[in-house]
Symmetry: none
DNA sequence: AATGAATGAGCATTCATTCAT
DNA sequence: CATGAATGAATGCTCATTCAT
């Protein structure tokens, strides 16, 4: 199995570090190989080409990212709590791994159109998670039933993404986690049923 | 004055068309020169380098974009109306100019870190417009006074941006303008004073 | 003895098939190893390097090729008959083994200068056979005694080689053997004593 | 017109010298550029890619080579004289330009299959010249009318080519021109009408 | 003897920018 | 002002060969 091969993971971890440090366009294959302490050619035993490294890296990292979010949100009963957990996990995971945050929020977006399409595919499960929470919230009579799920999901993802990007561009100098309650409140505001 | 020189504008307009058609990485200086019907060298009489073309293009286009938003929002009295107008103008202008939408939402984001910092500078006035509307809303007792302006602005901009990007990636196949009322309602939801 | 080792021959036969199918530049060592059903490293237990495989293959194949020509020509008494037999054997053997014909006429010629020198060495015995037939023909008073043997040998070899190469490049679509009498007559024309 | 551009010819002449000196595989584009005293990139203003340099070089050189042969042979009345002139010109031109001889006889043959097909196309006019001489000879009652033209042409070209290649591989140490009368006699032998 | 994962040198090509005309 | 020919730095990928097992 691919995941048992140590060099495979060495290379992926090296790619994250190299891109976080040197930026997308400053990250030559040879630099990644050096950081991973393997020969340039070794890269090509595990990856088809440079793009494949990046996509695979994104898939692996986002896979784990999303998996943990699903895991934690599923422990919650109510949709509004699930949304809170989702925000906590989203911000929490990126807070803990600045390199990953830099790579996903800034560097990987400089990739070409094809790579970006792939990235969108990887993100789809995350968007589905949000959609599911919204549907559940409507069923649970927590969210209004006249919301347009696609739109609300774009609001939620766009908001979280913009907040994290701003935080990364400010070099992660403040505590992202402090924003959680306010963000939760803001996002709920537009979709919750009016409490009497 | 720079703007009186016809070639200057020829080049900028050519850049928008070339990038929208060929993508960021497929837009060589020589291609822009050809589209603008000038020689390659002529470009460098009007712009310092390739990055300068892109930044200038973005500044000019976003300048007009923001100017029109300021113009229209200032005609409104109340902050919630101003927010509606802002959304209308944001979506409306990009709806009318698909090339511009492609360039700002997809292609220009592939630029490097330095260019992205510049782009953020250009966007600052827009973000200020949003901030001002929010402050006004609080003063007018329309928005809650416990909102964190920075955060709300990130929500508003992140939401609008994400929605437009999704629309462009779906090849502008549906009508962006139809979303306006729902988006307005969603965004207001989190910030409005509770109506009794 | 080297030739008793089965893998040694497996590799050589695999090389002929792989080169005939994929061309000289499409024939990587790993491809030959795969076709021979051995590991890449195993190749190097039997051959010094890639060039050694090719030279050895050429030596083995040309050795058999020449051996059969010597065997058959020696059964003939007169030099003009020997020449006919030589042409028959030259065309006959390549007619029967298209892969070998492709490899010797087209692919192996793409090798570098050093390899080509080696190939010439391998060919020397064949050229000697031609020289011997010519000398014999002069002694037997069949060929004119003013011919320059080196030159005539170059004519004979050059002609046969060019004819076979043309046949291979036409994808062996016609019957090479039909040409034999005419070729024999042509070559004899320049060297035979005038019959009164 | 392309041929008025000096760099175009500089590059072609440089390519001949570089390949003659360093061999086909030792001739990097940068080496050719250096020899031609132009920048690497300039090569690509005049040639599509490396292969294009080689094909164009061969076309230009063989074009002149063949043109001169046609020019001189057409001055002769009888086919046997034409054949003599053809041999004189073939050997004469390569005798005068050792670099060209090395390139055409040794180095260019190391090229890949596609390039070799192109080379064959360039050679076609030369083969036609030989065919025409043969047809003329038959009409003039100088050559036998039962010869198979394709075959005789292959003999003539194969013989001349083999002789020149041998001469080049012996590092052009002897005088190729001395062979002309004997070669002429040899080739005529197989095709001439028997003189009573 | 046999394996096959790992190595790392080597090279064609693009394109932003310059500068002589 | 305008031109466009010329420049040259910069990099992803292949594949013959090795060597620890």
């Amino acid at each position: 199995m691919r995941t048992n091969k140590p060099k495979y993971h060495q290379i992926i971890e090296a790619a994250v570090r190299v891109i976080a440090k040197n930026g997308f366009h400053g990250s030559q294959v040879s630099k990644i190989a050096k950081e991973a302490r393997v020969a340039d050619g070794t890269i090509y035993l595990y990856f088809k080409n440079k793009e494949d490294i990046l996509i695979t890296m994104f898939k692996e990292k986002m896979g784990q990212f999303i998996e943990k979010i699903v895991e934690q949100t599923s422990k919650r009963e109510y949709a509004d709590e699930k949304l809170l957990t989702l925000i906590e996990m989203h911000f929490g995971q990126l807070s803990k791994d600045h390199d990953l945050a830099i790579v996903t929020q800034l560097e990987l977006r400089q990739s070409n159109y094809d790579l970006r399409l792939e990235i969108n595919n990887v993100l789809k499960p995350y968007l589905s998670v949000i959609d599911d929470i919204l549907k559940e919230g409507i069923e649970q009579d927590i969210f209004r039933d006249d919301i347009k799920i696609t739109l609300v999901r774009q609001m939620i993802f766009g908001t979280l993404d913009e907040i994290v990007t701003n935080w990364v561009m400010k070099e992660c100098k403040y505590d992202l986690l402090e924003e959680i309650p306010l963000v939760h409140q803001l996002l709920l505001g537009g979709i919750e049923k009016i409490k009497k």
